[in-house]
Every structure is written in structure tokens, then in C-alpha cells.
Amino acid sequence: MHKFDLSLDHITKVEGNASLHISVEDDKVKNVKFIIGENKRFFTEAMKGKTISAIPQHLSRICGTCSNAHLLCAIEACENALKIQPSKQTEILRSLTMHGLIIRDHALHLYLFCIPDIFNVDAFLDLDENDPIQHQILHDGFDIKSAGNYLATLIAGRSVHAIYPVVGGYLHFPDQAGVDEAIEKLNFIRPAVLRLIEIFKNCSFHFDRKTHYMALVPDKTFGYMNGSIITSQGEKYGEDQFRSHLEHVVLPYSQASAYTYDKEGYMVGSLARLNLAKDKLHKKTKKSLDKILDLFPSTDIFYNNLAQAIEILHSIDESIDLLKENTFKQEPIKKVEIKESVGIGVIEAPRGTLYHKVVIGADGKIKEGEVIVPTGQNQINIERDVGILVERLLPDTSKDKIAFEIEKLIRAYDPCMSCASHFLKVKWNKKTNKKIKN
């Protein structure tokens, strides 16, 4: 019978700094701790006293790779507080900003983090350029990332910490030459994305178990900005019900907050979105995918990678339509009328549902704020799944192989530790290290 402790001090090829400790006795997992070790930077505390105009750029700095999602979520929270209705053009530009982010961010995760595991190499750049298949994948990966980066830069000014989106509108508008080039680049990468989807459809990695999931589901077209929060149990919540449906759980060893729903772990992210809204994907995307969509709904976490690849295709098809069907004109920023108010923003960031809350004082300054990030919501599920995975691998698997399989599983969740580490609000019970509910 096995008894050992396994520690992964630095989980690699993920966004940010995380570690994992697991204790095994008699071939049973006694304890799993997924530890988000990013040092806290106290973004929610630092919101206090800032003006509304500073808040989106401030909260964007929570995370580099998710920065444009935080930016748009903070803008939505401020606009909802002040009852600002964005123009139709602003809504289109925000959708395009999110599509650029989805293409760039998912491609980074799938190519640089996940594909090395499939091809049994340490790094994406280790793929063999002399092998025709691997040569194609190398070029596809950087071409797709580059197109997403171009779209985000054209629409939002930068793909990281974008500078054009503000409360009430956009500061700059894309010109026709840029729009034409974006359409050309997106059309160019579409076949590459179809090849990417084939890779993850045929991938032999699987890990299935019963779990719940939830996502912000739009009423009409598949997207990331609006809708209702729908759960796998069939419940529906409005965006304004900020975290009333979630239970906050403190993990004393981690610099992040975790959440449960109905006292159980759940998952958010691409897989949850596809499970709940695959019928709303762009018609061209659905036509290209054909029977692949029959794989959803699924609770196989490795299909989160496939779902991300499908979302890239949808974002390309949707973006091409939006760029072709609209002419972008100069437009003034909507006026802000300051009042004491509370606003909530909810959007689907690449890794799942993101919530921002702002409490604005009569002087227009922030009195307090709160943020719930996707990785915090996935944290309980990640720990539970690692425990199940290790018990399935015991007793005949080496510790090195177990460590590799754990990293693969965690990568499938695409966690973001930069995001996760900043929102621990609850005071610790210093007498106990047990989980404390709040």
C-alpha cells in the first residue's frame, strides 16, 4: 500500500504561480491543496477613493492575459450603476474586443500550454519543423495568435490593457483599411482553426466525472457580454444577483477565494458555455463542426480544450460578420451623471464567468468594490478532480507520471492565478486551518 506526499512547487505552462500538495495513505488520497501562490496586490482595496473613470484601467491590471475582460466588466459595472446605455456601435466594438481576446487567449493556452503534452514534447517550440504536421501546427499557432492580437489592437488599441474602451463608449474607431486587413487575417486562419479542432477532437486525454457547471448565456447569439446566468441544474439568475447564488469558501493555504454553488463545486469556462449554449453558435461555425457538437454537453474536462478551439472558430465567424456588416463612425462618449449607486458587471471572460461590483458615492468616488474571477470558481473542482485522478492512477503509476497527469488536468481547466489571488476578503480564523464558510 502506498503512503507518500507529492508536491508540485511550480505548475508550469499555466498563467501565474500555483502549486499543489497531495497526501496519499493506503492508496487513498487524504488531502489535496491547490495553492494559488501569487502575492496579493490588493486591487479591490485600492479601488476605494478612485474616480469612476480610473476604475476600468485599474481593474484591468489584475491580470495581463484577461485584462480586456476585466476592463469591459468594470465598464459594465460602472455603466449599470449610473444607468448609462451604451450605443449600438459601442456594443459591437465591445463584442469585437472580446472576440479578439478569445482568439488570442485560447490560442495561447491551446498551442503553447496544451499541444506540447499531446506531442510529448516539453515546449511548443520543440515541435519538429521538419515534420510536415508539426511544421503546420507551429505556423498555425502563431498565425492564429497574431490574428487575434491584430483584431484586439485594431478595435481596442492594445490586446493587453486596451486603451480605447471607456465608460460611455470608445475613444477611437477602426478605419476601413484596418477592418479589411482584419477580415483578411481572420479568413486566412479559419482553416488553421479547423485543424486545431481536429487535434482536440481526436486527443486521447479524457477525465470524466459528475459535476455542475454554469455560464452567462445570451438570449440570442453565442457571446460573452450579456444574458442570464444558467446552471446545469436548470436554474436561471439575472446579472444583478451578484454572487447571491454562490457560497464563498476560504481556503486558508491559498491566496485566493473559492466558491461553491448549492454547497458543491462547479465549473465555469468554455466547456460550460458550449454545454449550455452550443445551439447559439454562428451558423457557419455549426455547419463546419457538424457532428462534433454532438460531444456536448460533456463533463469531460479535457473537452474544455475542444470547446476553446470551437469558440475561436465562432469568434472568427462572428467577427467577420460584424466587420463586414458595419461601418464605424466617430461617436461621442456618453455623458456620465454622478450619483450614489451600486453597479454590477458580469461577462464571460475566456476562463469563465467574471463578476465586478462597484459601490459609488455621491462624490463619484468608489466606496468599495468586489470581484469574483473564474479560477476562484473552479478551484474546489480542481482539487476534487486531482484527488479522483490520483486514486484512479494508484497503485501502479509512478510519482513522475502522476505529477505529469495532474499538470495536464490542471492545464485543461486553464486556470489564471494572476486573476485569482486578489480577492480574499474574509478574516482568517487563526485558531483553525479548517475551511471557513462565509
Partner: protein, 161 residues
């Protein structure tokens, strides 16, 4: 350094949002074939699992120094690096990662238990407060062109020796 020897690269992230890591991977979109030929990505956790911590021609440091462990790590990196480059605002000026340095008394009181709990430094530091920095690339995030210019200048300098 002989021209055919690859330049050993380390990329390390401390307290920050890792925006510069993302910018670096985006710059890579147009330069990966050239970089693959001239760089040995020796310790870059965002790119690989088997990282080697022995010596670096160029070590890039992203993020501010927020804990005693960070101080020890960046000091060790400095000892084994020919050139140390601070990338991004958190590394170069210590902000926004170090925003707690400027908190009001009330704000300090509300975070005190967490500062104590995780044993972080009383004051967050920029990299140059801890080790000697050869090149600084500011920005939040760093500007891609400025990054590329500085990298190319360092490559030219290292290859000329």
C-alpha cells in the same frame, strides 16, 4: 560569445499581472523562427516544464519584489546572469503591484491580517532596490517595439564578445 552558441534566456515573473509575458509571447508571433535559432529558453515557465536554473546570458525580470522569498530568488538570478533586464512597470517602478505602499491608514488596517498571514515584505520594492539592473523596459505593459529594440541590442552586444 561565439556566434553559433545560443543565448541562454531566463524569464521570471514576480508580483505582477504577467502582462509583459503575454506581450513577449505576442512578439514571438513574428519572431519565433529567428528566436528558435539564437535563443536557448533555459528557464521560462510559461513556455516549458523542464526549466534549468544554472546560468543566463539574459535574465528578464517581470514584477515587483513583494516577499523575502522574492528577494532571495532575484538575488540568486542576478548572481548567475550576465545581463539582467527589468521589464514592465511593476519591475521598473514597483507599481501597480506595490500600491499597498501608498495605502491610507484605514486601508492598511484592512489588509494587515493578510500581510501578516502570508509573511510578505512591509514595503513592495522595484527590482533595482534589490539587485543591479542592466536594462529597464518600462510600460504597463512594455511596448513591443521597445522590447524588441532592447533585446536586439543585447543580442548584438553578447554576440560581439
Amino acid at each position: 560569445m561565439k556566434n553559433q552558441e545560443k543565448i541562454k534566456i531566463g524569464w521570471f515573473s514576480f508580483s505582477c499581472c504577467e502582462d509583459n509575458t503575454i506581450v513577449m509571447t505576442e512578439v514571438m508571433n513574428d519572431h519565433w523562427q529567428e528566436w528558435k535559432k539564437i535563443f536557448d529558453f533555459r528557464h521560462v515557465r510559461v513556455l516549458k516544464s523542464k526549466n534549468i536554473m544554472d546560468e543566463f546570458d539574459i535574465a528578464f525580470i517581470e514584477g515587483a519584489i513583494a516577499s523575502p522569498e522574492h528577494e532571495t530568488q532575484v538575488t540568486e538570478i542576478r548572481k548567475i546572469s550576465k545581463k539582467l533586464v527589468a521589464v514592465g512597470a511593476c519591475a521598473v517602478v514597483g507599481l501597480p503591484a506595490g500600491q499597498r505602499n501608498d495605502f491610507t491608514e484605514d486601508q492598511r488596517a484592512s489588509i494587515e491580517f493578510l500581510v501578516e498571514r502570508f509573511g510578505v515584505l512591509p514595503k513592495v520594492k522595484k527590482v533595482s532596490e534589490v539587485v543591479r539592473v542592466d536594462v529597464e523596459i518600462p510600460g504597463c505593459p512594455m511596448d513591443p517595439k521597445n522590447f524588441l529594440d532592447k533585446v536586439n541590442a543585447l543580442v548584438a552586444e553578447l554576440q560581439s564578445k
